[in-house]
């Protein structure tokens, strides 16, 4: 896929010193924003979910671009996978009509537009006010491996020595928050399982129906009565051989 995109880029944007890195950044950012808007504007639930997955995928692309492969893969796994499960179990199983569409009245659109614009303005202003972000970073950023992140989660911060502490002593990592988060998730899971359970019937319905057919008098018992004549003939044949 990246190859196809690349050829597309080469043809239409013959900028002088085109830097692929920035091209892809612009592309992924554009896809993310466009799909985000599309999510808001779409009225068919499944299309909304599709655009959501595309925009989250584009942000995952941004992470990969920034060299943070671990976070990129995590984003793909959690957000895109999560939306997938949300879409399937949340949307499809509860959708009444085959194509559930949610119409928004124009009044709501205007209101939402105003609130959105206000929030955007605040974000932009604060983003541009940070001096460090204004000029591009020097050189390509080093691609940190996943291991420091892993070690940090286990309590050993290897990527930066503690300020002022003697060489070699390392700050304690994120073990505590990591444990808190996992316990929290466990509680949430147990709660969800408890809420979703439905009291199941004691005995499955099929076996009940079969059991409710009360057995007649044992077949053997009244077989003795009928077994008079030799080969099967009509019961009315009166002993005729």
């Amino acid at each position: 896929m990246s190859g196809i995109l690349a050829t597309f880029g080469a043809v239409t944007l013959p900028l002088a010193a085109l830097n692929w890195h920035s091209f892809f950044f612009v592309l992924f950012a554009a896809v993310a924003c466009a799909c985000a808007i599309a999510v808001v504007l779409a009225d068919n639930v499944v299309r909304m979910a599709l655009y959501l997955v595309l925009s989250l995928g584009a942000t995952a692309g941004l992470f990969f671009l920034a060299g943070a492969e671990f976070v990129g893969a995590m984003q793909l796994m959690i957000y895109v996978g999560g939306t997938l499960v949300l879409l399937v179990f949340g949307v499809m199983l509860t959708a009444q009509a085959p194509f559930v569409s949610i119409k928004t009245t124009t009044g709501d659109r205007v209101l939402a537009g105003v609130v959105g614009a206000a929030l955007l303005a605040v974000l932009l202003q604060s983003a541009f006010s940070v001096p460090a972000w204004r000029q591009p970073a020097a050189g390509t950023v080093a691609a940190p491996a996943a291991t420091p992140v892993g070690m940090a989660l286990l309590g050993v911060r290897v990527d930066e020595p503690a300020a002022g502490s003697p060489q070699g002593a390392v700050r304690s990592g994120y073990l505590l928050p990591f444990e808190i988060v996992s316990v929290h998730l466990l509680v949430v899971l147990v709660g969800a399982a408890y809420l979703a359970r439905a009291k199941k019937r004691k005995t499955p319905r099929a076996i009940e129906v079969a059991a409710s057919v009360e057995p007649p008098a044992s077949v053997a018992e009244h077989a003795a009565v009928g077994r008079g004549a030799g080969r099967a003939t009509s019961v009315l044949s009166g002993g005729r051989s």
């Binding site: 053997a220 009244h222 009565v225 009928g226 008079g228 003939t233 009509s234 019961v235």
Partner: protein, 176 residues
């Protein structure tokens, strides 16, 4: 428990149910009054010394000679005859019941003859009765859902009747 004494037991249990018999025929049979068929079958299935717990098949025979020439020579009056073949799984013996019904109810063409349904006795009779209704036009009172089973739902006429006319077209498909 064969032949005559079986019949006497049946007679004793349901007086007046048996209206005719022929024990010397290839398959000996007894004729039952149409309105008593359900009771007789109930007795045969539950209280009879030889339990007839399986209904093999129900057949409707349309005794009616369409062209007048042959009709004159025929010995019987036009009527519909229902034949029930029963089977006892334990005693491994069979029994044939017959019922005679008028071809039309009250001889008004279009009114189907009626007979009580035996679905209450054997649930297997459900489909057999639906087929007899569909092909020979006999109304089974008390049947859970008497619909056509082999012909399409909106088919007119009952094909196995002797005076049945093939429809010229059905939903645009040429009949004859």
């Amino acid at each position: 428990m064969r032949g005559p004494d079986f019949l006497s037991q049946l007679d004793a249990a349901l007086p007046g149910a048996i209206v005719g018999r022929n024990l010397e025929a290839m398959d000996p049979w007894i004729e039952i009054a149409p309105e008593r068929i359900a009771d007789v079958c109930q007795w045969l299935d539950t209280k009879s010394p030889v339990r007839f717990d399986a209904l093999e098949c129900i057949t409707a025979i349309d005794w009616f000679e369409p062209d007048a020439k042959k009709a004159a020579k025929v010995s019987w009056q036009p009527h519909t005859e229902l034949v029930y073949h029963l089977w006892s799984t334990a005693a491994r013996v069979s029994l044939v019941l017959k019922c005679n019904l008028p071809r039309w109810k009250g001889d008004v063409p279009g009114q189907l003859p009626e007979i009580p349904s035996v679905c209450g006795v054997w649930r297997g009779a459900n489909w057999h009765e639906r087929e007899v209704y569909d092909l020979s036009g006999v109304w089974f009172t008390g049947h859970p859902d008497l619909r056509r089973i082999l012909c399409p739902e909106d088919w007119e006429g009952h094909p196995l009747r002797k005076d049945y006319e093939q429809p010229l077209e059905y939903h645009g498909i040429r009949g004859k």
